[in-house]
Symmetry: C2
Subunit: 471 residues, 2 copies
């Protein structure tokens, strides 16, 4: 029985299993659901053991002072000790479901309708985690082997939707167990059901609050206006100066480390059927595109770094007028980063920028929200990406294009801490309404995803030197 036959004939069982898992409301952001997050981990552990993984463990995260939600680890070694080791990353926690009254069916009572499976977590990320066990069983069935062709590890997190607060610590403390040659991420999307694609990178992030202070108190603008510095003028000047008239970020050295987009990747992006009107509608009905000169919209949001003012406040913000020179101004800013920018370097540059642009009589402080998130990037011609492309193309019967992801996640931690390249294999769609009411997944895409990973394990096993050489 070949891979596809196995998958098609086991689809019914697979979807019933997924629905059982989706019924567990593993909302990690809600302390009232932390018991459910543990039940979800236990369900998955049972499922992985039943699949045949000889090692299945539930890993608690955090410490007593800051307890976390459990991750699930499983390992099934290959028979051939020379086979490469693959670590699959996903998560079993889900987003909150509010506003509940916008769901057409209860979010934790999954239903099938017109080839879609609806329910919280169907696409993000339980469906995309579970396709791995189906794919693995198909791989085993097709080869009639007693073990996978690659040494397969799974790490399925329980806090991704809560910002993965303990994830880096978990990776560091379990680095030995998690060692691998390549990391497969199944938590993103492809371009469209009929345009299979692979993500090759995510942007990094660093955020800060800028606080400016002038006088000790607000002062009367009649008595003092025009004679003393106004921190809101300084703030506006500082924030306005973050971009030049080409939409480029002006922090000193901001672009120094940026890995330029290659002509090949730009050409591949350009082949994606991009509907700007629909994209603007998704962007809260934005009325125009904007951004760095010389780049397309997709390039801007996927592969170019940004500076964004996320919030600002100061002075009188209530009804009516108050003729003051305010004493303070505040802004929250964040920077999306791309390979190979380092959050720590950008932090230094921001401090320098603010210090250089703070006028006399104004005191400025810059406070960072944390160390930031590194960008993640897998070159198009890296062996892992090429192997996954071949596997996806075999499963979908079409050319696979490339995308990136403009957001930021724990993926870069995986690559950095474990020292292995990332490969994004995912079959979610942007229209899956993840994080929103009526989340769904296309059922056939889950099956094609299972097929793709089955082929991928075979492909990676066929050329172990290719992938291990990239470490």
């Amino acid at each position: 029985m070949d891979v596809r036959d196995y998958i098609d004939s086991n689809a019914r069982v697979f979807f019933d299993q997924l629905k059982a898992w989706l019924a567990i409301p593993s909302v990690s952001a809600d302390p009232g659901h932390h018991g459910d997050v543990r039940s979800s981990a236990q369900w998955l552990a049972g499922h992985l053991a039943a699949t045949g993984f000889p090692t299945v463990e539930i890993w608690d995260t955090g410490q007593a002072s800051s307890p976390g939600q459990p991750a699930v680890f499983a390992h099934w070694p290959a028979q051939d000790p020379a086979a490469p080791t693959v670590l699959v990353y996903g998560h079993h926690d889900v987003q909150p479901v509010e506003p509940l009254d916008e769901w057409h069916a209860p979010p934790f009572e999954p239903v099938e309708r017109d080839g879609q499976l609806l329910g919280r977590g169907a696409s993000d990320d339980k469906g995309q985690v579970l396709l791995h066990t189906l794919g693995l069983r198909a791989c085993l069935a097709a080869s009639a082997a007693g073990a996978p062709p690659v040494s397969l590890k799974l790490l399925i997190e329980g806090e991704e939707e809560s910002g993965s607060p303990h994830f880096a610590d978990l990776l560091r403390s379990r680095a030995d167990r998690l060692s691998c040659d390549v990391i497969v991420i199944s938590d993103t999307t492809m371009w469209a059901a009929d345009v299979p694609s692979m993500c090759t990178g995510m942007r990094g992030l660093i955020d800060a609050q800028i606080d400016l202070r002038g006088a000790d108190t607000d002062v009367h603008s009649g008595s003092f206006g025009g004679g003393v510095p106004n921190p809101l003028h300084a703030l506006a000047t500082l924030l306005a100066g973050l971009h030049d008239d080409q939409g480029r970020v002006t922090l000193p050295g901001f672009y120094d480390a940026v890995l330029p987009l290659t002509d090949a990747e730009r050409a591949l992006f350009a082949r994606l059927p991009f509907d700007e009107k629909a994209w603007l509608a998704d962007a809260g009905d934005s009325q125009a595109t904007a951004g760095e000169a010389g780049y397309t919209t997709l390039e801007r949001v996927w592969a170019r770094p940004t500076a964004e003012v996320n919030g600002l406040w100061g002075g009188h913000t209530g009804p009516g007028a108050k003729t003051i020179v305010p004493s303070q101004g505040h802004a929250k800013v964040s920077f999306r980063l791309v390979a190979n920018q380092e959050p720590a370097d950008i932090a230094v540059a921001l401090r320098e920028y603010v210090a250089a642009r703070t006028p006399p009589g104004i005191e400025a402080t810059v406070t960072f929200g944390g160390p930031g998130v590194r960008p993640a990037f897998s070159p198009l011609h890296s062996p892992g990406v090429q192997a996954a492309k071949r596997a996806m193309e075999r499963a979908f019967g079409r050319e696979v294009l490339f995308t990136r992801e403009g957001g930021s996640g724990p993926e870069a931690d995986l690559a950095d801490i474990l020292g292995a390249p990332l490969v994004f294999v995912a079959v979610g769609l942007d229209e899956d309404r993840i994080h929103a009411p009526n989340e769904k997944v296309e059922m056939t895409l889950l099956l094609r995803g299972a097929e793709a990973v089955a082929y991928l394990w075979e492909d990676l096993a066929a050329d172990p030197a290719g992938i291990t050489a990239t470490r």
Copy 2:
């Protein structure tokens, strides 16, 4: 008996009368004290009648839908029908007294201490109103006349500390009764007890709220950041652009109507003993001066127009980071104006400026708080100012210098609606703690003020053609 002898021998009675009036808590901003505001008007009406004014009236203000606090009007015609008519403006309402625990004595139980009279309203403005009746009596006693040398009108407002909401309407509806050749304002300050001075102008004001809107909702900065316009960037650019690098306001035509400071006025300002360090301390411990290049601090805050951002807000302003492109940004701005700028012209210029600088995809609205306040200005060499200068110099025995007032008030309405020039005759000091706990007035300054107005009436009567020619 000459003017000074009369005043000195009646000082005790005068201060006792003032203390009785100060004991009435006429806080116009507090509805709980509106009965006291009326009592204060009644007290003043009785005092003016007792002084000899043949016409004394309490004028209600506002309408049934928006009732106001009462003003007091009094008129004592000169015997000579060719004598000029003078209108004295002041107010009998007072500021709130909070924080009460910072007062060394109860605010409405006035006490005398070391030549100072302490109590709410002592300087702002009851003391400066009452000096007019003492001055008038002295004038009458010195000339042994049965009527003042000028036709004297008093209009003492009851809502000045609440923003004079009904004052312009009152002036318009009573313009015939209030017609005059010159308006004497006794509601400002002089430079110092030993540096008598006269204010010659106040700045005007117009305020607005600027609202910028991008997308319909905040959008995720990972998915859309760098590709859609951010209204906070637009807001920062717009506000930062309000000033050029010389601190000049960039609104189109902003300075076109500005009456330049004369060399003579600048030279007189420069003779004032200005202590920048003390001024900065008063300015909420500001750490530096700032403003329009080419002007001194006093010139900047008294005689140059400004643009001030009074408040701004938008996006995420709570704890922590939120990686959004916000949908909206807001700012409150105000412009202090000088002669001969028109608030309506500045409003047009602001609308033009915002429209020209709003980038594609952002929608901007500008909402004005009202029609604004016109600047007031009395040229140094106008007959009224020169007459008052002579009278002040005679009373104080020193040269009188000139100041201006950076704030804005209903004075310009008086000049505009009644069509008469303003003359500021006042003996308050900046250190009188008006609007603050422990308000006080220097008792000898009130007496010298009374003396000055007595001389002023004589002076104006001696040259009626001079003042009436300026109308």
